[in-house]
């Protein structure tokens, strides 16, 4: 323990802590911009400057370790002037269009301006003039709004280990961009949107589909259907000041009906279906000497990563479409037929925690009878905006139930939204498919939690199933390299591109609250625990679907409608044009 003084308060803190953390531990806030928790400090922005007795210059508190007897002043007049100047300079370089900005009200630059009471323009800065990169189907990059904090570069490079963007040029012309300033769509980017979640401004943002969706809702002939991903119900409440981890499923259904959707279904239904198909595929591969390990395929960010970097391992990917694509495919075939609607009139909107899903829905091979399966994808954030525009007071809404038959689901589907969830759900069903008996304890604690890689061996009827769960795309390479060298011992590997899984997806509410991932995760396990049925094969609507339409898992019809193929994209990155 080290003893120091911060703003005349005696502080005891652990050795090795930064001034920033020590100050925080006693309730003293120091503003930061370039700082990212758990990453090595870069010390680039200097907004966190403090005064340290005996030091001439100001010290960046995020990068400076404490020592015994240190005397720190975090809010002296000198510090305040320095910080204010930094903020003023940033503002002067920034487009002055807060009023029409997508981050209006949730922007760290605005917050700083307010915090330091900036009320006039004291400097006249040159504004950057850059085209917005709208080349990808999921993200927009607007370098004019970039304050060069570098958070996106570090998340993309150090956490996701993709490295699609970096600082290029230097001095005034320095910007964050892709190689040769080409569009994101031809870069290494997997469109996961993790960079959006850390960007303090609107320089990185999703490509909005709000207009497409509201046009469809106003169209007389369109039969509009919404489906909700597992992870959205655990996060959307945050945007309406509900506590982290509040389950808002019932309100969501009510809200979507009020927006005018004719039917509101649950992607969880298709998650159960995915499990039926995927567990069947796994067992088939194991018993017939198919390609192993089998990789899960429900995360399009991960699929894109594999196609771009390990195009030689496509055989390992499960051929199952992701749940919302399965749901879309069924809506435009099974459901449309059942209802006697022309599938061409069906307009499917997926409410997703994810930015890559926008890109995924535009992949041409994901179609059913030549119709796009999912017509538009709205992120959690976009849906919040839609509710606001429509004057829907979300917090006050009553609860409703999903429509049927594509609205019923089990606890196994609920946990799809968190890292380890798909694995756990698949194990529950694989056990049954292998043994014809029900698994008593369905909780696989060993695949839960936030470790980078979770591995385990599960014995089912004398078969030792080696499994691994990769939590975040940045941890995938080591397992993939082993597979490439033929040294992998695994049978089944789950990969989710976003750290924590979809609950921390690139389309989720933006804020830097510390325990958000843990709390959201808890919410999903809570939903699972409360369910009467927790194994996918027990879902009555799924049984009916197989009886009426699909036959059995892996059948010919299943393959037609629920399975897909992948493309080796190691040479060219350009594939899907934005819708």
């Amino acid at each position: 323990m080290v003893e120091l003084t911060i703003n005349n308060i005696k502080v005891k803190a652990e050795e090795g802590m930064t001034i920033l953390d020590a100050a925080k531990s006693v309730g003293i806030a120091v503003p930061t911009l370039c700082h990212l928790k758990d990453l090595i400090p870069s010390g680039a922005c200097r907004i966190c400057s403090v005064e340290v007795e005996g030091q001439r210059g100001l010290i960046p508190s995020c990068a400076y370790p404490i020592y015994e007897g240190m005397v720190v002043e975090t809010n002296s007049p000198r510090v305040r002037v320095a910080r204010k100047t930094i903020v003023e300079l940033l503002i002067e370089n920034h487009p002055q269009d807060c009023l029409i900005c997508v981050r209006n009200g949730n922007c760290e630059l605005q917050d700083l301006s307010e915090k330091y009471s900036i009320r006039e323009h004291r400097y006249k800065g040159e504004h950057k003039d850059h085209a917005v990169d709208i080349s990808s189907a999921s993200l927009e990059r607007d370098p004019a709004k970039c304050i060069l904090c570098g958070r996106c570069v570090r998340v993309c490079g150090e956490i996701q280990k993709v490295g699609a963007i970096d600082f290029i040029n230097r001095g005034f012309t320095s910007i964050v961009s892709t190689p040769y300033n080409k569009g994101l769509n031809v870069s290494d980017c997997i469109l996961c949107g993790q960079c959006i979640l850390v960007c303090p401004t609107a320089s990185l943002r999703e490509k909005s589909s709000l207009k497409t969706v509201s046009d469809a809702l106003n169209h007389r002939k369109k039969y509009t259907i919404a489906q909700i991903a597992p992870a959205v119900r655990a996060t959307l409440g945050e945007e309406f000041n509900m506590p982290l981890g509040t389950d808002v499923t019932g309100k969501l259904v009510t809200g979507l009906r009020r927006l005018g959707f004719k039917r509101v279904f649950d992607t969880n239904f298709a998650a159960d279906l995915t499990i039926m198909e995927e567990a069947h595929e796994l067992i088939k591969r194991i018993t017939t000497g198919g390609t192993l390990p089998m990789f899960t395929s429900c995360c399009p960010g991960w699929v894109k990563y594999l196609e771009q970097n390990y195009g030689d391992l496509l055989e390992n990917l499960s051929t199952c479409k992701s749940p919302h694509e399965m749901e879309g495919a069924l809506l435009k075939s099974y459901f449309a037929k059942k209802m006697g609607i022309d599938p061409k009139d069906v307009f499917v909107v997926s409410i997703m925690p994810c930015t890559v899903k926008k890109y995924e829905s535009a992949r041409p091979e994901l179609n059913v009878e030549s119709l796009t399966e999912v017509d538009a994808v709205l992120t959690t954030r976009e849906l919040v905006r839609f509710f606001n525009i429509a004057g829907i007071e979300f917090a006050d809404l009553g609860e409703s139930e999903f429509d049927n038959p594509l609205g019923e689901s089990t606890g196994a589907a609920a946990i799809f939204g968190t890292s380890g969830g798909v694995m756990e759900a698949a194990l529950r069903t694989a056990y049954y498919q292998l043994t014809n008996t029900h698994l008593e304890n369905v909780d696989f604690e060993q695949v839960r939690g936030l470790q980078d890689i979770k591995e385990s061996t599960i014995s089912i009827n004398g078969l030792d199933l080696n499994i691994a769960v990769v939590n975040g795309i940045g941890n995938a390479a080591q397992i993939l390299d082993e597979v490439r060298e033929g040294k992998s011992k695994y049978h089944f590997v789950e990969v989710m591109a976003c750290p924590g899984g979809c609950i921390n997806g690139g389309g989720q509410p933006i804020h830097q609250k510390i325990d958000k991932v843990i709390e959201r995760m808890k919410a999903l396990y809570e939903i699972d625990k409360k369910m009467l049925l927790r194994r996918s094969y027990e879902n009555e609507s799924i049984k009916k679907l197989y009886a009426e339409f699909l036959g059995e898992p892996g059948s010919h019809v299943s393959h037609e409608i629920l399975h897909t193929h992948y493309i080796d994209r190691r040479k060219t990155r350009k594939i899907v044009n934005p819708k």
């Binding site: 490079g157 993709v162 490295g163 699609a164 963007i165 970096d166 600082f167 290029i168 040029n169 230097r170 892709t178 190689p179 040769y180 870069s187 290494d188």
Partner: protein, 164 residues
Amino acid sequence: MHENIFDHYEKKDKSSLIPLLQDVQAIYGYLPEDALQEISDYVGLPLSRVYGVATFYNQFRLTPLGKNVVRICRGTACHVKNSANILYSVETELGIQAGQTTRDKLFTIETVACIGACSIAPVININEEYYGRVTTKEIPKIIKKYRSEVQKETASGKVTEGVK
């Protein structure tokens, strides 16, 4: 063709990035896009980082140099003597901007910080020659000289193209 360059460096050693860039530039006179991708694969750094480094340092070029390199000094002394106007008139004369090369690959414009001849500011330098106390009026004449030299050489069959 530059396999031999890579032989001098360990695979996946990130510290060889800058020496590798220098070697490639020494061969081609600039950094071709394919070469950057190869370097990125070899040292195990994302292309964005390699590109970032290549654009950070002034010593690296991403486009081939023209046969004649026109350097305009933008140092303090020259700045005071209106080097901005000199730059502007060279750009106008050649129809390109600083950092670019003409389509016929005859000229490249570069700006430099203090050539070291402040006493005769403003200064420009073309290949090996220096021009001091230049005025905007002289620029077309100076450029013309290099153009006609090339024409002469072409006529005598010595040079037919720009560099590489």
